[in-house]
Symmetry: C2
Subunit: 273 residues, 2 copies
């Protein structure tokens, strides 16, 4: 096994953007082994020099030139990072000049601002949406009139994490309604859901996968049985068809993708800008 | 007021990466008004041609050349998007050649792969961490031995959203313990927390800000009173000092930043790679 190429995600903020972009780039090279690390809050030249030294030493120890994926916009800090001898990939740098030219306006550099999210209104939108998701996670005592979206599906089909992601990432208020055996046997939507039909979105899942997930949670229960999963999923999908609800399968879909597709369907834009 | 410059975040996946990078770039130009929109799941040339037409028409209607921030790696799709006449900012393009040269390896293009997160193990890590955060959100019946981190603070200091973010984004299991009046009056950590002292991280907040937040939640209650907030925050901060706990103020800090600082402090790496 060959040595792992050291990669550093460096930022004057959390480094989450650098990590996201860097990881996407690295997945383009599935044959190469990488050892990645995040270096957040590098917002002074002195911190940058320390970081550069650490990067250089790592490269020397491993015997491979390190790679830096950098979202710092301050050029003095970037220059200090470049002293490490690493291959520098400055995420924002290639776009500043074309943007300045197109907009006829010079950028106004400000360390850390690119990542600042401290605006109170935005914070409150996220927190309110998160509280909404937390208090509307079980179908009990719902205030569905306040929901942007109501996710419907059998237990463990992915509703809760999707609702939380919608809230935290987009500030969208999402409720979720777990279809009960009674609902599924009755073969129709509960009345209080029908009143909000235009907000409903169905989640479904492959029964074998559901069985695996439920096995982990309650091993060898009736709830986790493959037959139970098959019956519930079949009834839920029949209900979605009959009621003409939009729906998608979460089996091969990440939480980000589910959230994004739900928002596209309802034409919701994020509430945080 | 001048027209808003149309900006499109285009991706073969969710478009979240394109949006994050694009938004960071646009904040460098605080004097320019932008109207942004996400165009996700553009993963065929035919969808790209439709998207390009929409971009072109928007530009013509508004009378300003649109901007596309693009994370599609497929060159045929990117070329179709460029037909829109927009200023193209291809996020990954500038880095592919330098990476290929450095790594001595050609990238293996795959539409959508850059955003794929459907790996089951990773999914389960996130979901398990999310379930952990949800079931350890109140200090009741805790399994602290399973926690990576335990956030401690007064009610509404930012613990819950941070725990959920740590779980959803990083797959980190975070519990939270709300300091009660009893804890604060007693002036020491509850015994069951003391057993896990090395996992504790304190969150604090400006009392005036806390008062505003609590006012929204329970207007004119004793809980929301400025004096209550001042007394609780003072006692909590005294406790952090006395017990020598790491802590930070959430007043001007985004959820991302809090999560990232907590992880840096404990040297936790994300559990999702």
């Amino acid at each position: 096994m060959s040595a792992q190429r050291p990669v550093f995600f460096v930022s004057d903020g959390t480094g989450i953007t650098a990590e996201t972009i860097g990881t996407s780039l690295l997945t383009q090279f599935p044959d190469v082994a990488f050892a990645t690390q995040r270096l957040p809050f590098i917002d002074t030249e002195s911190k940058a020099r320390q970081a550069a030294q650490r990067v250089r030493e790592t490269g020397e120890r491993i015997g491979l030139r390190p790679i830096i994926v950098n979202t710092v916009v301050d050029s003095a800090i970037s220059a200090a990072l470049a002293e490490s001898g690493a291959l520098m990939m400055d995420v924002f740098a290639p776009f500043i000049l074309p943007l300045e030219t197109e907009l006829g306006s010079m950028r106004r550099p400000s360390v850390g601002r690119a990542h600042s999210m401290t605006d109170y209104d935005k914070y409150e939108t996220r927190i309110n949406a998160t509280n909404y998701a937390l208090s509307h996670d079980d179908g009990v005592a719902p205030h569905y009139e306040e929901a942007d979206v109501i996710l419907v599906g059998v237990s463990r089909s992915g509703k809760t994490p999707t609702c939380l992601y919608l809230a935290l990432h987009f500030g969208v208020s999402a409720a979720n309604y777990p279809l009960t055996e009674e609902d599924l046997e009755g073969g129709e939507l509960p009345r209080r859901l029908r009143l909000h039909r235009h907000k409903l979105f169905g989640l479904t899942i492959d029964p074998v996968r559901l069985h695996q997930i439920r096995q982990q949670r309650r091993p060898d229960s009736r709830y986790a049985k493959l037959e139970t999963c098959q019956r519930e999923v079949q009834a839920a999908e029949a209900l979605f068809r009959q009621e003409n609800l939009p729906s998608l399968s979460t089996t091969h879909t990440s939480i980000e993708e589910i959230a994004s597709k739900v928002m596209s369907h309802f034409n919701i834009d994020r509430h945080l800008f």
